[in-house]
């Protein structure tokens, strides 16, 4: 089963839930956890698994071949992303702005803009026993996370043939990186907290996922810290609340030190059990 763990608001517990759920499930089953928060990936801090393989994250961009160029200027006209400027004597390419659409390259009458791979980050593959962990990490200064997220998913799917669980730790927010990271999941867990910020950002995620007809449910983290508006919202909107994790300084402290919390905190462990039970029995009947 493919699960994505996402949230509109940052810092609501995506990574805490991802690493604990993955490690706990891996006590019995084969699990692959993928950190798709490529701008700020943190799952690896908690897992400390041995590295199996590291591959370069790339996106194809046009590279100007001066010998072939006719200086017709068409490439600049084709590019809607301002990634190409055609000057009288040379063509300038700005790879960070390129969306890899291939229009300039394939429509150039002189084949002067072949597409070559440019490094935008890396994908690391770690594993021990039942648990495989794949991390996408964007190079600092790169603007677009989506190409790396796509590549990390493709790589993961080639590596996880026999696993029972595939868990995607998604980037925060409700924009294109979150949509891309949750796209291939069978079910999306939105984790939020019962505060005005948590509720508002959750409601934006719900709009995004409903527009795309996705299956999702909510885990309420830090229960007790705020009010009951989030609970009421889920009830009114007919969104299943899968589990409630109580507010706890112990969890915050374990998190701060990069420790897994499920073997120290019984409430947390029972939330994991509820989530597994829900995914196996109820996730596709709602």
């Amino acid at each position: 089963m493919k699960i994505a763990i996402a949230s509109g608001k940052g810092g609501t517990g995506k990574t805490t839930l991802s690493v604990n759920l993955a490690s706990w499930l891996a006590l019995q089953d084969k699990v692959v956890l993928v950190d798709l928060d490529t701008e700020e990936p943190n799952s690896g801090i908690f897992l400390k698994l041995p590295l199996i393989r590291s591959i370069i994250g790339v996106k194809p961009v046009p590279v100007w071949q001066s010998d072939n160029c006719l200086h017709c200027g068409k490439c600049q006209g084709y590019c809607q992303f301002h990634a190409i400027i055609s000057l009288p004597s040379e063509v300038l390419v700005f790879p960070k702005l390129c969306h890899s659409c291939y229009a300039c390259s394939e429509l150039c009458p002189a084949s002067a803009l072949p597409m070559l791979n440019e490094k935008i980050g890396k994908i690391d593959h770690f594993a021990r026993e039942n648990l495989t962990f794949i991390e996408g990490k964007l190079d600092v200064g790169q603007e677009m996370a989506v190409p790396l997220i796509k590549q990390a998913i493709t790589y993961t799917e080639s590596q996880s043939v026999n696993s029972e669980w595939l868990i995607f730790d998604s980037p925060p927010g409700n924009a294109c990186p979150m949509i891309e990271a949750t796209k291939v999941a069978d079910f999306i867990i939105l984790i939020s907290e019962p505060t005005p910020f948590g509720l508002y950002d959750l409601s934006l995620s719900v709009q995004s996922l409903r527009k795309l007809n996705r299956n999702f449910g909510v885990v309420i983290n830090r229960e007790g810290i705020g009010n009951s508006d989030l609970e009421r919202y889920c009830l009114d909107e007919d969104i299943p609340v899968i589990a409630r994790i109580p507010q706890s300084r112990l969890i915050a402290e374990s998190y701060s030190a990069g420790k897994l919390v499920y073997h120290e905190d019984n409430d947390f462990l029972s939330s994991l059990k509820q989530i597994k039970d829900f995914l196996q029995n109820d996730a596709f009947s709602c």
Binding site: K9, E40, Q80, S100, C101, A175, C176, T195, A252, E253
Partner: protein, 296 residues
């Protein structure tokens, strides 16, 4: 180029949930009417929840393009589908059509369509607003449409409008609440900034993220300060963060203790400094005064 008389302070963190918005709101409370506020976390904006703003102007935000196929002209040759790298062209019964969620607006299909059946139309990506907060600041904020792209451009738009208002109303400072991460909305929010305030917390994750976002800020050569929130949560990591700040000449603005008072204030729609008996007042005031002196 003339130096801009309006100074821009951008609050970011790398990791989400460290307290950017709560602290930006507290600074805005202290600054009273001297500032223009800008919420640049456009795909999860929360500043309005503390500011109860009255909207004075709202405008649609268009960014980039979206392809559209004229079914009457389409000859079903399928060339558009062959060249589209984003799997955005769907074959339906009558003719080909565009999956708007997948279309990047690159226009490749429209350039090669032999029937000229494909045109690019402006894409509506969200709204931006100019409002007045209950503290009488102008607030520029926005909403990216669900799952929207081009958040960087919307951030840019919010900042431009904020800069125009600051000039017109003779405000000295634009205070920007930024997005988490290090990608396009964050990079857009850094363009033109005079000072970056990094809000962090003593966890291994937040420290890791702080170092990455600092490397990004360094590429822009912007003056940087830092505030450690929840500082007593892990004193070992707090110490390491402070060593990192000293090594990189980043001014430490304040250390705030782990406290659920921020949430209690948020529940009332308040900023932390409106709460009675708050112990945070001196530290946040000192941080704001340091920010002002760094700008001068």
């Amino acid at each position: 180029m003339m130096p801009s008389p309006v100074k821009e302070v951008v609050v970011i963190s790398g990791k989400g949930g460290t307290g950017k918005t709560s602290l930006t709101a507290a600074f805005a409370f202290l600054a009273q009417e001297d500032i223009v506020l800008a919420d640049c976390d456009v795909d999860a904006p929360d500043m309005h929840l503390l500011m109860n703003p009255r909207v004075e102007m709202e405008q649609d935000f268009y960014s980039g393009w979206q392809a559209e196929i004229d079914c009457l002209k389409c000859s079903n040759c399928g060339k558009c589908q062959e060249v589209c790298r984003f799997s955005a062209i769907i074959q339906s019964n009558e003719c080909f059509s565009i999956d708007a969620d997948e279309c990047e607006g690159c226009g490749y299909c429209s350039f090669i369509c032999p029937e000229q059946a494909i045109q690019l139309i402006p894409r509506l990506s969200g709204q931006f607003r100019v409002s007045r907060t209950r503290f009488q600041h102008k607030l520029v904020h926005a909403n990216l449409d669900p799952g929207g792209e081009n958040s960087g451009k919307l951030v840019n738009q919010v900042k431009q409008v904020a800069a125009r208002i600051a000039r017109e109303d003779s405000k000295k400072i634009i205070l920007v609440d930024g997005a988490p991460g290090i990608g396009c909305p964050v990079i857009s929010s850094l363009t033109g900034a005079d000072l970056v305030v990094l809000v962090t917390e003593p966890s291994l994750s937040a420290f890791h993220d702080l170092q990455r976002v600092f490397n990004l800020v360094n590429q822009f050569r912007i003056k940087t300060a830092c505030l450690i929130n929840k500082a007593d949560l892990n004193s070992d990591i707090s110490t390491k963060i402070k060593a990192f700040l000293a090594e990189n000449s980043i001014l430490l603005l304040a250390e705030l203790a782990y406290n659920t008072a921020f949430t209690a204030a948020m529940l009332k729609g308040h900023c932390i400094l409106e709460e009675e008996n708050t112990s945070f007042q001196p530290a946040i005031l000192e941080a704001w005064n340091k920010i002002i002196s760094l700008l001068n």
